[in-house]
Amino acid sequence: MMRVLRTIPYTVIRMSRDYITLLLLLVVPIILITIFYFVLGDLKNQYGDPAFYDTAQLMTLVFQLFGGSIVIAHIQDDLFSPRRQRLMVAPMSRPFYALSISLCGMLYSIFLGFLLFLFTGIGLKVEWGNGFWVMYIIGLLAVLSSLVSLILIFAVKNFKLAERLSEVYGIGCIVLAGLFFPIPDYTVITFINEYLNPLLLAANAIGYAQSNLFPDAYIYMIRLGVGIVITFIIVFVLGRRKI
């Protein structure tokens, strides 16, 4: 256990040196959100609030969907590449090591979400409501997305395919949420968006909390939580076989 703990600083260093991830999950959203800030200006939504608030919140959450890429890239590098041999002969628990990488990846993703939250909240004056609640929901979304990515990497043999599928998960959630184009009102899609689409679950949890409708916010938060429990069980079962 202690030995695994000693690896954590190096995992953190490695993640912080992955500049491409920083570009994709921090710099790009900042640029895009800023452009929307100028585009939407003083435009109001149907409730009379600035339309930019909704966009900025959704964009911040959207990028959490892709945070799982951090975890699976490191799991792949350390446990499914030639480096695996070294870790197999080392006097250290591999499952614990996998857990530590996953937790680091999730925390890193949450940290990037936190920076976006700060940027939009302080820099662009977006009203988010209770900051702790927002960060809690962002955290849940990041954890769920990482778990989904982990299921993919454990279930699919080919890493590239797992990576693509995790992108499909992210883009799929965005498309189903109707952010690219209006989605027809089919019962199936409404059900998915109401109970399964993590992007909308998180957005609703934050939105309802902002309107002080906490019972509704809790419902969406619990749905996210249930998603995490289920995906965690799957990750646990699949991971035990693969690691």
């Binding site: 202690m2 030995r3 695994v4 000693r6 690896t7 190096y10 260093i13 490695r14 040196r17 992955d18 590098d77 590449s81 030639p82 480096r83 695996r84 041999q85 070294r86 870790l87 197999m88 002969v89 080392a90 006097p91 250290m92």
Partner: protein, 313 residues
Amino acid sequence: MIASLNGIVKRYDSKLVLDYIDLDINEGQIIGLLGPNGAGKSTLIRCLTGMETVNQGNVTLFGDGKKPFQNKNKEKIGLVTQEISIFPELTAQENANFFAGIYGLKGEVRKRRVAEALAFVGLAEHTKGRAQNFSGGMQRRLNIACSLVHDPKFLIMDEPTVGIDPQSRNHILQAVKKLQRNGTTILYTTHYMEEVETIASEVVILDKGQIITRGTVQDLIRNIQHEERIKVEVSHPEEVSLESIQALPDVKQVIKDGNQILVVSSANSGHLDRILTIIKEDSGVVGINVEKANLEDVFLTLTGRTLRDGGSA
């Protein structure tokens, strides 16, 4: 005894990769594990280190046959992998520190060992450089340093010199010898027989999953050496009395080819001196070449195939 394999059988589906392997590795040895590609060398290492479960037989590490792969034993083993398995985004020092950490090194000892391991492979000047910016040879050396950082009693090196420049290769071979002098036991796998001839105190030749022979380089060569071939380059070949040479005991064949005389005789006949005396009576000697057998010939004799590609000779 450092390690011992008894009757190890390993199959991948129906393919038999290791076929009843018995191997003892004693303290202080450099064992050269030699075999063509696909002979089963890497699988043997995987079984020896517990990366792969065996279908039959048992592995003993440091006298422990019950739980050979428990952490207490793993701490004493270092593995230099065939592929470079380091973190490209970390510096040399950070890489060594990471592996020191997972082997339980702490504080000052850890600091000292990291510095020593990097200096040992000649990377003392590059501790702050990121591995991804290193040349292939430097990355290979860092790969070795990461396996040495916890000062293992038993070092397993799986083809550590594949694809590197001669300078780095020499550095690695010298380092291996130095490690042995410091008391480390080394299992060195390769398909380059020159490397084994240079460093190994004992050679194990593996082919098609079986150990076909083992012993010191000299022993193995002696066992297969049935004849020697002496080539003498002369100034006046037409003057040399081939009959006199042919008349020597144990000489099997004398051939004149241009200004070269080739004499084939039984091994260790001790004829070199006599042949030279005969030739010098009628001609001058320009050059001499005594062809000796090497490990390639050992492999060839035992399997009928060449070592490099495993194909027919």
